[in-house]
């Protein structure tokens, strides 16, 4: 076939579509193909330059962001105001999911470290679809609940471990008293 024509009639490969990308996210693993195409119309595609602040600690948080391309750095400030990086996120990661279900302030700041394409899913839209399409909203929220409870378990385990070890000197004294 003439390359010109093949170029015109070339369909966008499935792998390039937003729906396909959303399907790769564990949060949306319950969603079927059709649901993913619907989700495409709900989420917000935003383009960021390198070094742009996405949100800072204490901002009102209203939803989660998925990293479709680029890198995002999550950081907070210690007691002396020094910036300490917590984690680097790459394609397929997401952040801010704790504020999707209930309003809360952002616990850390996020900024891009290179040119990024982020996908936002916000609480306002979730409320909207939970009224109109409860099935889809249900699948997303169950995915979110599963993810959050996994993390909670992990955090509880780590907390237990840390408590068992304890800070060596003070904890030792307490044990002597008891």
């Amino acid at each position: 076939m003439n390359p010109l024509w093949s170029n015109i009639f070339r369909k966008k490969p499935e792998e390039e579509s937003l729906a396909y990308f959303l399907g790769t996210i564990p949060l949306f693993s319950d969603l079927k193909n059709r649901d993913l195409h619907f989700l495409e119309s709900i989420v917000h595609q935003r383009h960021y330059d390198a070094g742009e602040v996405i949100f800072t600690e204490g901002d009102p948080g209203t939803g989660l962001y998925l990293v479709r391309s680029g890198k995002v750095s999550i950081y907070n400030h210690d007691a002396y105001g020094k910036r300490c990086s917590l984690v680097q996120l790459v394609q397929g990661d997401f952040f801010g999911e704790t504020t999707l279900a209930a309003p809360a302030n952002r616990a850390a700041s996020a900024r891009t470290t290179e040119q990024c394409e982020l996908i936002g899913l916000f609480r306002a839209d979730m409320e909207e679809i939970s009224k109109k399409y409860p099935m889809i909203a249900n699948k997303i929220l169950v995915g979110l609940a599963r993810l959050l409870s996994e993390r909670l378990h992990l955090a509880a385990q780590q907390l237990n471990k840390a408590q068992a070890q304890g800070p060596p000197d003070q904890d030792g004294e307490v044990r002597k008293d008891a």
Partner: protein, 370 residues
């Protein structure tokens, strides 16, 4: 040296540049004011249909959503709702049509009589005041009232018969706008919100959502309230021998959109007609009771307002008066009616933004606390 400063050619160039600058500045200025003028001219007739179709979209939105939830497409649901609304309207008009025409004709002949009688009443009241308080200077209250009433009626007739074109335009434009507001409203909002910069995008998105939820609640509540009050007044008046009960109910419903002053204004024609036709008897007092006690106190204040209207959209009476005056200055009688709701809308937006700032200490406002 001085002739080195500017040669003749340079001077000419300078002159030309300055002239060109001045001319283009003038041209810009005139064209700017011309453009503003054109825009004003182009948008004069558009305000009312857009407002009406926004209100209609707010009212129909829940029905469309309901159909959509049951698996119908958005456009199909809108068409279905439109069809239902149109057939209801058509049936209503068909049922009422002979009635209305008759009423309209007799009203045209009756109105001057009512006004004359009303003015007479005013005169009596003034004479009474003058007897008791002789130091009250002679003020031409009846004359003013008569002039005002005549002007109002002239406006009314001019608006209904004179500009059938305008109404035809409304009939054409309102359903069209309503359809697109219903179908693409979310998309339009989404697009406009999407234009905001990345840093504020999330907040703007959330705020717009909160405000639009409050707004739709408010608009739906107000309209429902007006309809129910109008129906109650109609039903109450229909118990008496008074004429034009449906018209009076309609009037009471529309004026009920304006808090505090609206119900008072809405009473006036009913009371005047009752006084003129029925006299100061038992029926007159029943009509007063219907207007004040049943429609306003019991139905509106005790039942409708607590259920339909959230308390924070309430305006201070001072703002109500200001909104009515300003609305009247801008858009006449229509402006008086929509001035207060528009002021409430502004208040709702401001309060939502403020609550937002308070619940989430926004960046910039919280740093000094730390």
């Amino acid at each position: 040296m001085p002739e080195r400063l500017l040669t003749r050619a340079q001077l000419l160039l300078l002159f030309l540049v300055l002239t060109a600058g001045l001319a283009s500045g003038l041209a810009l200025f005139t064209s700017a004011s011309r453009i503003v003028e054109l825009l004003q001219k182009a948008s004069t007739g558009i305000f009312l249909p857009i407002l009406l179709s926004l209100v209609a979209a707010f009212l129909l939105e829940p029905v469309v959503s309901l159909l959509e939830r049951n698996g119908l497409g958005r456009s199909k649901s809108i068409f279905l709702v439109f069809f239902l609304a149109a057939s209801t309207l058509y049936l209503g008009v068909q049922l009422m049509n002979p009635h209305w025409q008759e009423m309209w004709k007799s009203l045209q002949s009756d109105l001057p009589r009512y006004i004359g009688k009303g003015v007479q009443l005013l005169k009596d009241v003034q004479a009474n005041i003058h007897d008791h308080l002789p130091f009250v200077s002679e003020y031409d209250l009846p004359g003013k009232g008569k002039a005002f009433a005549n002007r109002l009626i002239a406006d009314l007739f001019a608006a209904t018969t004179g500009s059938a074109l305008k109404i035809g335009g409304l009939v054409l434009m309102v359903p069209l706008f309503t359809f697109f507001f219903l179908r693409d409203g979310q998309k339009i909002i989404r697009f406009s919100v999407g234009l905001s910069p990345n840093r504020h995008y999330e907040m703007v998105h959330d705020l717009v959502h909160l405000i639009s939820r409050q707004l739709s609640h408010f608009v739906r509540g107000r309209i429902l309230e007006a309809i129910i009050v109008g129906l109650v007044v109609w039903a109450g008046l229909a118990q008496t021998d008074i004429r034009y009960a449906p018209l009076l109910g309609l009037f009471a419903g529309i004026t009920n959109l304006v808090p505090y002053l609206g119900p008072l204004v809405g009473m006036v024609p009913g009371l005047v007609i009752a006084l003129v036709d029925l006299g100061m008897g038992g029926q007159f007092w029943w009509i007063v009771v219907v207007y004040l006690l049943i429609a306003q106190v019991i139905v509106d204040n005790f039942i409708l307002i607590p259920v339909l209207i959230s308390h924070f959209s309430n305006l201070h009476p001072l703002w109500v008066v200001l909104a009515i005056v300003m609305g009247g200055k801008l858009y006449g009688v229509v402006g008086m009616i929509i001035g207060v709701p528009v002021a409430s809308i502004i208040k709702i937006s401001l309060i939502e933004i403020r609550q937002y700032r308070r619940t989430f200490a926004l960046p910039g406002s919280s740093h000094d606390l730390e």
